[in-house]
C-alpha cells in the first residue's frame, strides 16, 4: 500500500501522523528523487519508525534514503530519555561507518603522472576485502579494551597520527561512556586482526582533486583550493562493530517482549534507553564507534606513508591534514531545542551525518564561524562534496544531513549493466585509476548503481540544511 505523503515545499515532504504514529514523517527530497524513493519501502519504514516510544518531532529521512532493516538508510530518529527507546537497527551493523576528509599541499598536476604508483602503494599498504591482516596484528584483550574506550586517542598514543588530529574528529574521536565489558568475546575475536583495514562493499580510499569551490571562506579554512589533492577514507568498525550489532539485535528482540513494546515491524527491535538492555547496548555501541575512529586514524597513517613512498616526499611536503572525520551510523545523546526548550535526546543516525551549525561547542574552534564540515561522498566515477552544517539543520533535523549518493539499484542489476560494458575503460576515460580486490565489487559500485550525489547535495543546500563548500573529482581509488 502506498504511503500517503504531502508536499510541504520544493524540498520537504510530510507523512501525516496517523494511527499509532507518535510523530509525523519528514522527508527531504526533490520531485525527481521522490519518484525514486517511492519505488521501495523507504516511506513505509519512515512511517514505522514514527511509532517508536519517545520519538520526538519527526521521523526524518534525507534525500539519499533507501530501504534497510527496519530503519531506512538515510534516516534520523531522536527519542527522549523518559520513555524513549534505543535500537541497534537504528544505527546499523557497521557502527560508526564514517568518512574522513584530508587535504594536502599537493596539486593534481604535481602527481597525475604518478597515480598508478600512488594507488599501487595504497593498495599494498591498506588491507581491503575480508582484511584480516590489519596494521596491528598482535593486541591483547586488555589493550583492545583500552582502544575501544579511548578511540582515536589510543591510535595516536601508538604512533598513528598526531594529537592535533583529535579536535578534527566528531566527538574528538571518542564516544564517552564506552563499556568494554558489554562487548562479547566474538566481537573482540572478529575485530582484533582488522585494525587498520578497509573492508569491502561501498568502503573505499579515494584520491581526489578539488574541481569547484562554492564557499571561499570555508574552503580556505579547510585548506582547499582548485586542484588541491585530497584523500577520502570511508570505512567503519569492521567485524567488531558488526558483531556488536548482531549480538544486541537478539537482546533487543527479547527486550521488546519483556517490556511490551508495541512496534509495527519486528526489525525495529529496541529497548528502553533507561533499561539494563538499553544501557548495555549503548555501552557496546560506543566501543564499536571508538573502534571505527581508531580504524580511520590508523588508515590515515598508512595512507600518508604510502603516498610519501610513492612520491618520495617528506611529511611536510605532503602536508596531509585532517579536515574532519564524521560518523554516519551512530546513536548519540545530544541536546536539541524542542518546543522552545533544550532537551537531551538519543539521536539515531543511520546513513545520515551530523551537521552542526556555527558556534556549536562541539565543533573545532577554527570552524566556529562557519559550522561543521559535512563530507558527502558520491560514487567512484563522478564526484563527492564537502559542505557545512547550518542553524537551519539545528532547528529542523537535529543537526543532521545526508551521507552520500544512496544506491538506486541492486548489486545484481548493477553487475548486469556492468557486464555489458568495459567498466575499467569507463573509469579510465573518467580519469580514475582503480585497484580493487575483485571485479565483483567494481561492477556493483559503478556510477549507474548510485543516485547522482549532486541531486542529493542540492536538496540539502536548497533546504538550508547544509551549504556546499567544494566538489571533488576522483582520480584514484582502492576498493575491497
Amino acid at each position: 500500500m502506498a504511503t500517503n505523503i504531502e508536499k510541504i515545499d520544493d524540498f520537504t515532504w510530510e507523512v501525516p501522523k496517523t494511527g499509532k504514529m507518535r510523530v509525523p514523517g519528514r522527508v527531504y527530497a526533490s520531485e525527481k528523487l521522490m519518484e525514486d524513493i517511492k519505488n521501495d519501502q523507504s516511506l513505509e519504514q519512515v512511517t514505522n519508525v514514527a511509532h517508536l516510544p519517545g520519538m520526538t518531532k519527526y521521523s526524518l529521512a534525507m534525500p539519499d534514503i533507501h530501504w534497510g532493516y527496519g530503519f531506512p538508510i538515510g534516516g534520523v530518529a531522536a527519542t527522549n530519555m523518559e520513555e524513549g527507546v534505543v535500537s541497534p537497527g537504528g544505527v546499523g551493523y557497521d557502527i560508526n561507518c564514517g568518512v574522513r576528509l584530508l587535504s594536502t599541499n599537493l596539486k593534481y598536476d604535481d602527481i597525475k603522472g604518478e597515480m598508478e604508483s600512488i594507488i599501487s602503494h595504497l593498495y599494498n599498504n591498506v588491507p581491503t576485502g575480508v582484511g584480516s591482516s590489519g596494521a596491528i596484528q598482535k593486541i591483547s584483550k586488555i589493550e583492545m579494551e583500552k582502544m575501544v574506550s579511548e578511540g582515536a586517542a589510543w591510535a595516536v598514543s601508538q604512533g598513528f597520527g598526531d594529537k592535533e588530529d583529535l579536535e578534527y574528529i566528531e566527538e574528538n574521536g571518542c564516544l564517552e561512556g564506552a563499556d568494554p565489558g558489554t562487548v562479547s568475546k566474538r566481537a573482540y575475536d572478529r575485530g582484533k586482526t582488522q585494525i587498520g583495514t578497509l573492508g569491502s562493499g561501498n568502503h573505499f580510499l579515494e584520491i581526489g582533486r578539488v574541481e569547484d569551490i562554492y564557499h571561499d571562506q570555508a574552503a580556505a579554512l579547510f585548506g582547499l583550493e582548485k586542484d588541491t589533492v585530497i584523500v577520502i577514507i570511508h570505512t567503519g568498525s569492521r567485524g567488531f562493530g558488526h558483531q556488536i550489532c548482531d549480538d544486541y539485535l537478539k537482546t533487543a528482540q527479547n527486550a521488546v517482549n519483556k517490556y511490551n513494546i508495541d512496534i509495527p515491524d519486528k526489525q525495529l527491535a529496541c529497548a528502553p534507553i533507561d533499561s539494563d538492555e538499553g544501557q548495555r547496548y549503548l555501552g557496546a555501541m560506543r566501543c564499536g564507534a571508538n573502534f571505527a575512529f581508531t580504524n580511520r586514524q590508523v588508515i590515515k597513517h598508512l595512507a600518508e606513508e604510502s603516498i610519501m613512498r610513492a612520491l618520495s616526499i617528506s611529511p611536510n611536503e605532503l602536508g596531509l591534514q585532517l579536515v574532519y572525520d564524521i560518523c554516519h551510523n551512530v546513536a548519540k545523546f545530544e541536546e536539541h531545542k524542542v518546543n522552545g526548550h533544550s532537551e537531551k535526546l538519543c539521536v539515531h543516525r543511520k546513513g545520515a551525518t551530523r551537521a552542526f551549525g556555527p558556534h556549536s561547542e562541539h565543533i573545532p574552534a577554527k570552524y566556529q564561524d562557519i559550522g561543521q564540515p559535512v563530507m558527502i561522498p558520491g560514487d567512484m566515477g563522478r564526484y563527492s562534496y564537502v559542505a557545512i552544517g547550518t542553524n537551519q539543520a539545528m532547528e529542523h533535523t537535529f543537526g543532521s544531513s545526508c551521507h552520500g549518493a544512496g544506491r538506486q539499484m541492486s548489486r545484481r542489476q548493477s553487475k548486469k549493466i556492468s557486464g555489458k560494458k568495459d567498466i575499467y575503460k569507463e573509469l579510465e576515460e573518467r580519469g580514475v585509476v582503480i585497484q580493487a580486490a575483485g571485479n565483483r565489487t567494481v561492477a556493483e559500485e559503478m556510477s549507474h548503481a548510485y543516485k547522482d550525489v549532486a541531486d542529493v547535495v542540492d536538496v540539502m543546500h536548497n533546504a538550508g540544511i547544509t551549504s556546499k563548500v567544494a566538489r571533488f573529482i576522483p582520480v584514484g581509488v582502492i576498493k575491497g
Binding site: 521501495d40 533507501h66 530501504w67 534497510g68 532493516y69 527496519g70 538508510i73 551493523y93 557497521d94 588491507p127 581491503t128 576485502g129 575480508v130 582484511g131 584480516s132 591482516s133 566474538r186 575475536d189 572478529r190 573492508g199 569491502s200 562493499g201 561501498n202 569492521r238 567485524g239 558488526h242 558483531q243 550489532c245 548482531d246 539485535l249 519486528k266 526489525q267 544506491r407 538506486q408 539499484m409 541492486s410 548489486r411 545484481r412 542489476q413 580493487a436 580486490a437 575483485g438 571485479n439 565483483r440 565489487t441 575491497g480
Partner: protein
Amino acid sequence: MPATDFEEFDHTADIGIKIYGSSLQDLFRNAGRGMFQVMRSDSADELLGTDRECDQSMTIEIESSDVESLLRDWMAELLYRHTTERLYFTEFDIQSVSGTQIQANVKGFRFTAEDENRLMDIKAVTYHGLQVIENSDGYEAQVIFDI
C-alpha cells in the same frame, strides 16, 4: 525440483540469496555453499577451493528458537569461523538438523594473506526478509547479507 541450489536476488544495498533444498539437510548445506559463493570477489574465480587441500575440519553444533533463526545462526557461525580463523569452507556435511538444532562437520582450507583480496567481506547475516518455507519440492529459504 528446483534447477538450482541457490541464487542471488535483488536488494538495493546488499546481497540476498534464495536457497533451495529437497530436505532441511540439503537446505542447510546449500546455505553454506551459497554464502561462500557470494564471498568470492570475482564470481568467476572458480579456482578458489578447487586448487587447495581442504585440511581443516570442525564440528559445529547450534540450537535456536526456530528454523529461521537456526538457519541465520548457522550461517553466522560459519561467517564467524571464516573471519576469525581465516577458513574458507567448501564441504558441509549436515549430520543432523531439526527445526531448532543442527550438528554438522564442515571442511575447508585456511586462506592466505594473498587470498584475502579474493574474498569480499560480509558484515553480517541479517534477519531482514529471513524466511524458510516448506513446499512440494522440499524447502525454500531467503537470507540477506549486509555487505
